[in-house]
């Protein structure tokens, strides 16, 4: 804490210095330019260089080309923390996951305990921030509050760990229990700031699908992705996939909290969107199950392609776990649509890669669009059809990429 504050103080001085230099040159531009600020590309610990939206708390976005593969490598997996005070060292001899509250026997489990006392399970699952793709809401009219992510706040990994159900059963959940709260080791800079605390109903916690993961793609979790433990909730937005998971509290009553009742909520109606008036006039509900979505990994925007060459268009699609039925593609900006070829199935919660071979025969500008449908008929909305919410959550409209054929 002390260390972070001192660093920040020092940092402020550095920023002042930098802005003095920049001020003169960019003064004119600042007023007239509508150009976006380009975040620097920086290599953080255990990461390749990534788009660094912020260093404190760390916000790192993956680049679009990552969506041309099913498994997102750990060193390119996006990073999103809420609080600035994050441990930079965890001693596994000291670290314990505490299970407490309405249980017969509170537990203090080491990472070794989790590995040795519980059946290990593996699941391949998409991890997507609730605010992923938020910046595209601005394209359909109204900007939304929050980090202006492109598509790069998502990834897909193989998670290995112990079932939350097994852990709770070892502790013995009391019959009065109705909710389970989870939190990790990140801390705010100001004591009054609401803690990052997430809750779920006891039935969900005991479903058997949630795991307390200690491995990601066959390695220890990277520090920035939540070392040493992270909750995994397949099919759900990442808001409750708590990083550096340290406490699991079984509760008889729901506990009101900022991060459950205000942040990460949408209007509680069928479209989960604002039909008229202000967003916060609506009864709220927390975002949970993900929406069907597909994203183009290759080509990336503004790629220049030689006429007559064979282009392997590819990307990924996923949903809340019902399974992708079809991904359609358009090469003429949405006038006509064809089918892509779905690739190997890595499980219902994983990315489904799709491909399409294209041999452009005429020069010019092309808009490639993709649209996924899942097995229960959920289809991605068009950009001008997507329902709007003030938090900019759950964006899943049709993705498009412009390329030039020369």
């Amino acid at each position: 804490m002390d260390k972070i504050n001192r660093r920040n103080f020092l940092g402020a001085g550095l920023i002042l210095g930098a802005s003095t230099l920049l001020g003169k040159e960019t003064n004119k531009k600042i007023i007239t330019s509508t150009k976006e600020f380009e975040a620097p590309i920086v290599a953080f610990p255990q990461k390749k260089p990534m788009k660094a939206i912020s260093d404190r708390p760390p916000l790192l976005e993956s680049s679009r080309d990552i969506f041309s593969q099913v498994i997102t490598p750990n060193d390119q997996f996006f990073v999103r923390w809420h609080m600035p005070d994050i441990p930079t060292y965890i001693d596994l001899n000291e670290f314990r996951l505490e299970i407490k509250g309405s249980v017969e026997k509170p537990l203090f489990l080491s990472v070794d305990d989790l590995k040795s006392k519980f059946e290990p399970v593996e699941i391949t699952s998409v991890l997507q921030c609730g605010g992923n793709s938020r910046k595209y809401y601005a394209a359909s009219g109204q900007a939304t509050h929050g980090v202006q992510w492109g598509h790069g706040a998502m990834g897909c990994a193989v998670w290995k760990g112990a079932r939350l159900k097994d852990i709770l059963n070892m502790a013995g959940v009391k019959s009065t229990a109705k909710f389970v709260g989870v939190n990790g080791l990140e801390k705010p800079a100001v004591d009054e700031t609401p803690k990052f605390f997430r809750e779920m109903e006891i039935d969900e916690a005991l479903s058997g699908e949630l795991i307390v993961a200690y491995e990601m793609n066959g390695e220890d979790l990277p520090y920035l992705n939540g070392f040493p433990l992270r909750l995994v909730i397949p099919g759900h937005f990442s808001d409750s996939w708590v990083k550096m998971l340290s406490e699991i509290t079984v509760m008889d009553e729901y506990r009101k909290s900022f991060f459950m009742d205000v942040a990460y909520t949408v209007p509680d109606n069928d479209c989960e969107c604002v039909i008229s008036g202000s967003d916060f006039e609506y009864k709220r509900k927390p975002i949970a199950a993900m929406k069907v979505k597909s994203v183009i990994g290759y080509p990336t925007p503004n790629t220049v392609i030689k006429k007559g060459s064979r282009v392997q268009i590819t990307g990924v699609a996923f949903d809340q776990g019902k399974g992708i039925k079809e991904v359609m593609i358009s090469l003429d900006g949405g006038k006509s649509w064809g089918a892509t070829a779905l690739q190997k199935d890595y499980g219902k919660y994983a990315y489904r890669q799709w491909t399409y071979s294209w041999e452009p025969k005429a020069k010019g500008e092309y808009t490639i669009m993709v649209r996924a449908i899942n097995r229960i008929g959920n289809i991605q909305p068009q950009v001008d059809e997507i329902g709007w919410n003030a938090g900019g959550y759950q964006y899943n409209a049709v993705d498009s990429v412009n390329v030039k054929i020369v």
């Binding site: 920023i15 600042i30 610990p45 601005a138 070392f227 205000v262």
Partner: protein, 105 residues
């Protein structure tokens, strides 16, 4: 030479069995802030909890947008910013990272 080899072997082994066995060092990024119009007030309060990257990431936003954002920091995240300084920060953000009008976002 032998000593160097042993050290190399030890280092290799360490990184295999525990990837985070020693403190990691987080990089510091100096996100540029336009100087003037009391940027020091924005620095003093905004940077308590987050880097200026958060602000730059928002792109140019309207006065109502920035007013709402500062209100969120104070009301929801409990940023200890006195009323007068809140207005100074909003004015700074609108002038350098936004615009007055409501329309168009």
């Amino acid at each position: 030479m032998i000593k160097i080899l042993i050290i190399a072997l030890l280092l290799g082994a360490t990184s295999l069995f525990a990837q985070v066995s020693k403190p990691i060092e987080m990089p510091y990024i100096d996100y540029p802030m336009v100087k003037g119009d009391h940027d020091e007030v924005a620095q003093q309060y905004c940077l308590i909890c987050h880097s200026f990257g958060y602000v730059l990431n928002q792109g140019k936003k309207s006065r109502p947008y920035w007013t709402g954002t500062v209100a969120k920091m104070v009301n929801e995240f409990k940023a200890p910013i006195p009323k007068e300084d809140q207005q100074t920060i909003i004015n700074y953000l609108v002038k350098h990272y936004g615009y007055e009008a409501n329309a168009g976002h």
